[in-house]
């Protein structure tokens, strides 16, 4: 371990004490873009969500909390159920990505073979092709009647009609996992790479099997990477639109598809804005609770 005095020196930001504003000037461009294209539209959306809906115009004069009341107190809890489904889809996709991604990330982080570069390319490949193209790829594979899987199964006589692989949550989850997996693997790989391989050897010298040493040493120490990866995938999933629409069709209704429906089909801008804000808020709360819980787990890991 480094001497605390030394690490303090190393960690000090590169600021020139004579020009205290130099750092600020450097972040100014990014800050400007964020204010203009994120903060401002967000505020605009929040304001919109409190406007009175209108059938003939974008919105009617006056303000109301009616949009939110309708979302929260609908008789069948229709909107809340969709919100819950959206969050569950996010949790499910995130969990599958973590299960599939951890072994790959571990291998990427630990392998010294030249094949690793190729594996990196495979891992990143979903990001290299447009999301629509990839979804059509999955449609060819998953489609109900003439899809690759179902056609093969039918030809083999294993199924009589078809397996419902598409136009339901299964298809959407498959697509989401495929496309968001890199966002899990990359932070995980970074986290595992920063764990000294000697720790695993130490565990094994003490009698732990390879699996035990990964579960007891690597897994807890990679929690920062797991935290980053899971939050990324969760947030991306609950706000994804194209994949659920293409692979879920009209059968899968989640918050983003509902929002677009309200905005574009029903032209109910204030209500759509309220739905979008509820989704954003719910997502934020979930992530916040998750951060609190995982930070508690990571208390020993922080260096």
């Amino acid at each position: 371990m480094a001497d605390p005095a030394v690490s303090e020196t190393v960690n000090r930001p590169l600021a020139d004490p004579r020009k205290p504003h130099a750092t600020f000037l450097l972040i100014l461009p990014t800050l400007g873009i964020l204010i203009a294209f994120l903060l401002f539209p967000y505020l605009n959306m929040i304001v919109m969500s409190f406007r009175t809906p209108s059938t003939s115009d974008v919105f009617a004069p006056g303000y109301t909390i009616g949009n939110y009341l309708e979302i929260l107190f609908d008789e069948d809890f229709y909107y809340l159920e969709i919100l819950l489904n959206t969050l569950l889809l996010g949790a499910m996709t995130t969990a599958i990505c973590l299960l599939l991604g951890f072994p790959v990330a571990y291998h990427l982080a630990r392998s010294r073979s030249r094949v690793t570069t190729l594996l990196y390319a495979f891992v990143l490949s979903p990001l290299l092709v447009g999301v629509v193209v990839r979804c059509y790829g999955w449609i060819i594979i998953l489609a109900n009647n003439e899809g690759l899987i179902n056609a093969t199964l039918r030809d083999l006589g294993l199924v009589e009609t078809f397996l419902p692989l598409m136009y339901n949550m299964t298809g959407v989850t498959i697509g989401l996992v495929h496309i968001f997996l890199p966002f899990m693997i990359l932070p995980l790989t970074g986290a595992i790479q920063s764990i000294d391989p000697a720790l695993e050897e130490a565990a094994r010298s003490l009698g732990a099997s390879r699996l035990t040493s990964i579960l007891r040493v690597v897994l807890p120490l990679s929690l920062p990477g797991i935290q980053a990866g899971t939050i990324l995938v969760f947030v991306l999933t609950i706000s994804s639109y194209v994949i659920p629409v293409l692979l879920g069709g009209f059968n899968v209704v989640i918050m983003p598809t509902l929002v677009v429906q309200q905005l574009l089909d029903a032209m109910l801008w204030p209500f759509g804005a309220a739905l979008a804000f509820v989704l954003a808020l719910a997502g934020t709360i979930v992530v916040w609770i998750y951060l609190l819980l995982t930070n508690r787990l990571m208390r020993g890991v922080a260096r």
């Binding site: 000294d196 000697a198 720790l199 094994r204 010298s205 732990a208 099997s209």
Partner: protein
């Protein structure tokens, strides 16, 4: 406690031979150091014993049982790593408890054994700290404690003192040696630091380029080195090229060199006319000043440089054939640079290395 035997151990990485047919038998309770410069194969040998590298050929046995095909976790070894490799997310007690937990030791016994070992390494009050809250020396002792609390068959140490500052390193040498004696555990210690190896070891294995040059007690290695590489790696040395003239009684050889006729002790057998190098340690050179006291191995030299080191004077002498000799003199000796002095070295304090 365990006898460790290594027979014909060879390890290749591709075409590179890291260790070449190493044979070594380590006795129960013995403390062995593998000493050599980096890349000499000492760490590879240790990792083969630990099971982290698979030997290309050869056998490794613990008490006669071949363990080459056993996984590291099934070898019952205790290992201390260069950077300690303490689990950062576990407290000191949890670090120590890990190996016991893997051995399914009951919780009560686990507690008492951890307490006992923590006391042994003088870390009694620090059991609930995390490794990052400890100093380097304390972390080092936790690593030692973690390795011995499981009462392993063999203790393996991979340059455990390399990351400590000089003063602490000095202290830890004695600490580790005393601990090893107390616990009575067969120990293999890897280091490139000759001082560490000398202080701690019963025997030292000196390695260069994957090959063992000499195995022996610290005094053997220092006073009777087998090769020039061993002699120059350990301690300071002067080499004087010479040719054997004949045998002169009990283990003494007469030589002819650029400095004239010399006599040296040597236990091996040499032919007349054979080319050798005479190893002369700086502290074996006696600066007589006036040249009195016998004329065996007496040469005149010119003092070219002298440095005061507190407990000794380091001198550089120019001798008859123009070469330089390093010598040590008592610090109270009043010597002037440029002065001509006689220097004498007893034949019993020199050694020969065949060329």
């Amino acid at each position: 406690m365990t006898r460790l035997a290594i027979e014909g151990l060879t390890k290749k990485f591709g075409d590179v031979v890291a260790v070449q047919t190493l044979d070594l038998a380590i006795d129960d309770h013995e403390f062995i150091s593998l000493l050599g410069p980096s890349g000499c194969g000492k760490t590879t040998t240790l990792r083969c014993i630990a099971g982290f590298e698979q030997p290309s050929a050869g056998r490794i046995t613990f008490d006669g049982t071949d363990i080459v095909d056993r996984l590291p976790e099934d070898r019952n070894i205790g290992m201390v790593f260069q950077n300690y490799a303490l689990f950062p997310h576990m407290t000191v007690r949890e670090n120590l408890g890990f190996g016991l937990e893997m051995r399914k030791t009951p919780a009560a016994e686990r507690r008492s054994r951890i307490d006992r070992v923590l006391a042994t390494v003088q870390l009694g009050g620090l059991g609930d700290r995390y490794p990052r809250q400890l100093s380097g020396g304390q972390q080092q002792r936790v690593a030692l404690a973690r390795a011995i609390v499981i009462e392993p068959a063999i203790l393996l140490l991979d340059e455990p003192l390399a990351n400590l500052d000089a003063k602490l390193r000095e202290e830890m040498r004695f600490f580790i040696r005393t601990l090893q004696q107390e616990v009575g555990i067969t120990t293999v210690y890897v280091t490139h630091d000759q001082g560490e190896a000398m202080v701690m070891s019963d025997r030292i294995v000196v390695m260069f380029d994957g090959a063992v040059h000499q195995i022996g007690a610290p005094t053997d290695i220092y006073d009777r080195p087998a090769t020039r590489a061993v002699a120059s790696f350990i301690g300071q040395s002067n080499f004087i090229a010479a040719e054997v003239r004949g045998r002169d009684g009990d283990g003494l050889y007469r030589l002819e060199s650029g400095l004239g006729a010399l006599t040296s002790r040597f236990s091996g057998s040499l032919e007349a006319g054979q080319k050798v190098e005479l190893l002369l340690r700086p502290e074996a050179i006696e600066l007589t000043g006036d040249g009195a006291g016998g004329n065996v191995n007496l040469v005149t030299a010119e003092l070219r440089e002298r440095y005061f080191l507190g407990n000794t004077l380091a001198c550089r002498l120019k001798v008859a054939d123009g070469s330089m000799l390093a010598a040590q003199a008592p610090p109270w000796l009043d010597l002037d640079v440029g002065q001509s002095i006689g220097c004498r070295f007893a034949p019993e304090r020199t050694w020969l290395i065949p060329r």
